[in-house]
């Protein structure tokens, strides 16, 4: 099994664990025993706050179509690269295709691709490496029909990491290109 399949499997596994962590758990035992057949009952005064006693809810909002949050949450604004590489990986293409489609759908939006590198390199060379990554994403989006004039680029090298840590996981997460909305998107 090659590295790509392994990492896909690991990704699926991680998602499954994440989903499992969200399943509701039984309510914790309180100090007072409210159970029907339990020991002595002492006129329990414990308000579980049921029937919406002051707590309200609603949709999260601001993921309105065409908004910056719509882009980052529903489309995905970051792709990742292999070590010392600025090549758009095959598994990153669907996300970039989705970015291109979204940008085509909202033609007033302009973006800036931010290229990043991991910490295992010197400052200036890593700026240049990040610039290659930003350009790779820009070229791909242009090839998918987004006008070049709507896409700016900048490289942060290793200077603005998103993952802290001196380990392979953090380094892999920091080898990325982030598509930032500059203007034209709704709130």
């Amino acid at each position: 099994m090659n590295t790509r399949s392994l990492s896909r499997l690991a990704l699926v596994g991680a998602v499954m664990v994440g989903v499992a962590a969200c399943t509701p758990r039984p309510a914790p035992q309180g100090a007072v025993d409210n159970s029907a057949g339990g020991g002595q009952t002492n006129n329990p005064q414990y308000d579980n706050g049921a029937r919406g006693n002051g707590v309200e809810g609603g949709a999260l909002g601001s993921s309105a179509p065409g908004s910056a949050q719509d882009f980052s949450i529903n489309v995905g604004d970051r792709i990742y690269f292999d070590l010392d590489s600025s090549e758009v990986r095959p598994e990153a293409r669907p996300r970039l295709d989705a970015q291109a489609a979204w940008l085509t759908r909202y033609p007033q939006v302009t973006v800036r691709i931010e290229g990043n590198a991991d910490e295992r390199g010197t400052r200036e060379y890593n700026i240049a490496l990040g610039a290659r990554r930003a350009e790779a994403v820009r070229s791909y989006l242009i090839s998918r029909g987004v006008p070049a004039g709507r896409i700016d680029t900048i490289s942060f090298g290793k200077e603005r990491p998103i993952a802290q840590g001196s380990n392979e996981d953090a380094w892999a997460r920091n080898r990325n290109a982030h598509t930032a909305i500059v203007s034209g998107a709704g709130q």
Binding site: R120, Y125, A128, A131
Partner: protein, 455 residues
């Protein structure tokens, strides 16, 4: 004691590394050169007695000089508590036996005396108690508040007299001081004395990342650096004396890696266009811009030769980052680095004879030097991560930043033998150091008091 004997007496100080060997001082036999067996690697630093000077700020002057000489790795300043003779006046000679008995091979003493015009005279003598002759003497005159500068100048004169090399202590370092947590870094441009004293923040502290500060070797008041914002990058030129600051210009692309030519007339830097990083040179007088590299690889981190005729730079046109040299007009680009691994961050020595670099390979980073044709590559220091070597003004030390795995970055220095590795004077989190030239030339031999020792 001439250069070869002192350099052959370097102790393994390595203050921050695992092998903390303390230099031992033992009295040498009278009038005999120190016997050194270099093959065994057991070497000794030169034991020197530095008295606190007489007069205002005198004891502090002695302490600053001791710190400079100790950090050079070539001297071992003796503990003043061991001195037998105290209160030496400038007009007196040291009592030789009271210094040879504690193993001092040179005695430095001096005095600060006020002048009628309100300034102070700071005079000193360096005396050899074994041969009973004066090695060097001189008097500086300045306002009293300049005592630190004078202490560094005296340390330079002692260093120069004993090693034959020009000094390095009357100088400043520029660096990027970091604070905040890993994901919320705050970046400031800072300057301090070479021993870390009195750091001053010059720029940054907001949302900008500060990178690549450099002095103009022609005028240490002229500096350059990069400010990397959220959606812009700028190269700034700044004059520390006047406070004037200007952006180098708009270049239709991200800019990085600025360096002055040694005569201060040109600035080499990189511009990124369509993802491709290349080296450019701007004439600072005419503001004419010349593009020097055109290949599709990364070309960056240029560094001028002292005569301004060539540049060394970092290119990965071969697929791996390596060091190349080219003429000032961009012609004759040729590979000079020869080993495997990735070479970045080249710096041409102010003496012109060596190129320093950062080398990456085997999961480690190293600081090294090579001749300007790539021969004679030597690694001076190696660790989990280090980068950005900056030359001392005498071309005999490098300052670089080092980071342990998961730790903070700190500044370190190493000498050309690779045996003297020490934390730099500044003790805070810092990266990207640059070293100024000597702030003033060391007084020439002709200006000094007669040297009565024969060598």
């Amino acid at each position: 004691m001439r250069l070869n004997l002192v350099l052959a007496s370097v102790a393994l100080l390595a203050l921050g590394s695992a092998a903390g060997v303390q230099a031992q001082s033992t009295p040498a036999s009278q009038d005999q050169p120190i016997e050194v067996d270099i093959d065994q690697g057991v070497l000794k630093a030169f034991p020197i007695a530095v008295l606190g000077f007489e007069g205002q700020n005198g004891p502090e002057i002695g302490a600053v000089i001791r710190g400079d000489l100790r950090r050079s790795g070539y001297f071992e300043p003796l503990d003043p508590a061991s001195f037998i003779e105290t209160g030496l006046q400038l007009q007196n000679q040291p009592t030789a036996s009271q210094w040879t008995s504690i193993g001092a091979q040179a005695v430095l003493y001096g005095a600060v005396t006020p002048r009628p015009d309100g300034r102070t005279d700071v005079g000193f003598r360096l005396y050899d108690p074994y041969r009973q002759c004066q090695l060097v003497a001189y008097r500086f005159t300045a306002t009293a508040d300049q005592w630190r500068r004078i202490a560094h100048k005296i340390a330079d004169m002692v260093y120069n007299r004993m090693t034959g090399e020009t000094g390095l202590f009357d100088s400043r370092v520029l660096f990027v001081a970091e604070s905040g947590t890993g994901l919320n870094r705050v970046s400031r441009l800072a300057i301090s004395d070479q021993d870390g004293y009195s750091p001053v923040f010059l720029a940054g502290g907001g949302d900008e990342i500060i990178m690549s500060p450099r002095f103009s070797l022609n005028d240490p008041n002229e500096v350059t650096y990069v400010a990397l914002g959220r959606d812009y990058s700028r190269i700034y030129l700044m004059n520390l004396a006047t406070g004037r600051r200007e952006s180098l210009g708009e270049f239709d692309g991200q800019v990085l890696a600025p360096r002055f030519s040694n005569d201060g007339t040109k600035l080499a830097f990189s511009i990124i266009r369509n993802g491709n990083t290349d080296v450019y040179v701007m004439d600072l007088r005419t503001r004419q811009l010349a593009r020097l590299t055109t290949d599709p690889g990364i070309d960056t981190s240029p560094s001028f030769s002292p005569d301004g005729q060539r540049l060394v730079f970092n290119s990965d046109r071969s697929g791996t980052p390596r060091l190349y040299v080219m003429n000032i007009d961009g012609s004759n680009q040729r590979l000079i680095s020869r080993g495997g691994g990735g070479y970045t961050s080249p710096a041409w020595s102010p003496r012109g004879d060596l190129i320093a670099f950062t080398k990456q390979g085997g999961g480690q980073f190293a600081t090294g030097v090579m001749a300007t044709d790539g021969t004679g590559e030597r690694i001076l220091s190696r660790s989990y991560f280090e980068e950005g070597p900056a030359w001392a003004p005498n071309g005999r030390y490098l300052m670089f930043s080092r980071q342990s795995r998961g730790g903070d970055q700190r500044l370190w220095t190493v000498d050309l033998s690779g045996r003297v590795v020490a934390t730099a004077g500044y003790e805070g989190r810092a990266i990207d150091a640059a070293w100024s030239p000597l702030l003033d030339p060391t007084p020439a031999s002709a200006a000094r008091d007669a040297d009565s020792c024969s060598s």
